[in-house]
């Protein structure tokens, strides 16, 4: 049986076999190209792939919306869902790691804080440890209003910067990309914040979705439809 060759769209309509000397995702002849991506993603198909924890009335469910995680109405409650990447950030931090989240605020309580992104900060019914190594998005609920932050920390210090997110009850696309000198944060494709300080480069191997009501008796929860973590292949 003849070996099957890879197909490529050269722009002339239809797909052709990959030509000798081509690079993946790039121009022919081995010239400059955009590297292919390696992707780890999920639409929360199964709960068994995740480490879950909760306290008080905190809960989570995996259903046809994706992942729902919420504090419930009892004070001092939290919900924590972690995805093990199977690889440490140290192995890919120089390959432009980037992450997309599709998420919405599903239950808008009066007081809460939530994190979604790369990293595994400690969480309790009262707080999230924001100094733990992470890159992602932070939502603070106070007086029934949201403030969203682009956030990262290197294990000792957090850098976070607020940005306007006036429709967080809609399903929004949150995206960040780390380069050698910075992390850029986007909301629905629009650049919001660029950070250059306290960016972690190792000892991060989980993706976390968590929320706490900070000891207040109110229910805050999110629906996250999917996430994608990608890196350049080379």
């Amino acid at each position: 049986m003849a070996a099957k060759n890879a197909l490529c769209d050269y722009g002339g309509g239809g797909f052709e076999e990959l030509r000798s000397g081509d690079t993946l995702n790039g121009a022919s002849g081995g010239g400059s190209s955009t590297p292919a991506s390696v992707i780890s993603s999920s639409c929360f198909e199964t709960s068994g792939r995740y480490d879950v924890a909760s306290g008080g009335s905190g809960t989570r469910s995996f259903n046809n919306d994706g992942l729902n995680f919420s504090t419930g109405a009892t004070g001092t409650s939290y919900s924590d869902v972690d995805f093990r990447l199977g690889i440490d950030l140290a192995s890919f931090n120089s390959f432009n790691p980037r992450m997309t989240l599709l998420s919405q605020l599903a239950n808008a309580g009066s007081t809460a804080e939530a994190f979604q992104g790369l990293g595994n900060p400690n969480i309790s019914g009262t707080a999230i440890t924001w100094t733990a190594k992470h890159i992602g998005f932070e939502c603070q609920r106070a007086s029934s209003a949201s403030t969203w932050y682009a956030t990262n920390a290197d294990g000792s210090t957090q850098t976070h910067t607020s940005f306007t997110n006036s429709s967080d009850t809609d399903m929004n696309e949150y995206f960040w990309i780390r380069s050698s000198s910075n992390v850029k944060f986007y909301l629905n494709g629009v650049l919001q914040v660029t950070h250059t300080t306290n960016i972690p480069s190792a000892s991060v191997s989980r993706i976390t979705f968590c929320v706490t009501n900070k000891a207040t008796a109110s229910n805050t929860g999110f629906t996250t439809a999917s996430f994608t973590l990608a890196k350049d292949a080379y």
């Binding site: 440890t129 100094t131 210090t157 850098t159 910067t161 607020s162 650049l191 660029t194 300080t197």
Partner: protein, 145 residues
């Protein structure tokens, strides 16, 4: 729970709200937006003109344990089994500006955290915290200026 936090927002675009933690010089923009050919001072998100935040709004706050919390930390039982990084790096304290007093508290924190470490881990942690302290101090000096 209090935590160390930094709210740089050093430069922002009043038109679209974009913010970045570095001065938008041509060299810096070329470094952080290579190939995008962004003019000095221009917002990379909407093309507007960025502005420096005033000292009043560019708040930078660091957290260290208070004296009481330091005593409490010392009284914490030493955990058994393997000690993870989060066991020793979780800070407690209140929001305070870094200064001479904070430096002293930071040094006390080092002592408290070192109780939970092996000899080699202690050496690494001391180095890491010493570097971080120098970094915090330099930022404090920059802000004061």
């Amino acid at each position: 729970m209090p935590h160390i936090f930094l709210h740089p927002k050093a430069y922002h675009c009043p038109a679209c709200g974009y913010a970045q933690s570095f001065e938008p010089t041509r060299a810096n923009m070329d470094l952080h937006f290579p190939g995008d050919d962004i003019a000095e001072g221009a917002c990379p998100s909407c093309g507007g003109q960025m502005e420096a935040q005033t000292a009043e709004t560019a708040k930078t706050t660091f957290v260290h344990p208070t004296a009481d919390e330091f005593e409490e930390q010392l009284a914490r039982p030493i955990p058994t089994g393997k000690v993870t990084e989060s066991d020793v790096l979780v800070p407690t304290g209140k929001f305070i500006r870094i200064g001479d007093e904070d430096v002293e508290l930071h040094e006390k924190t080092l002592i408290a955290e070192a109780r939970f470490l092996t000899e080699s881990e202690r050496s690494d942690a001391t180095k890491r915290h010493t570097e971080k302290l120098a970094e915090l101090q330099s930022k404090y000096i920059e802000i004061k200026q």
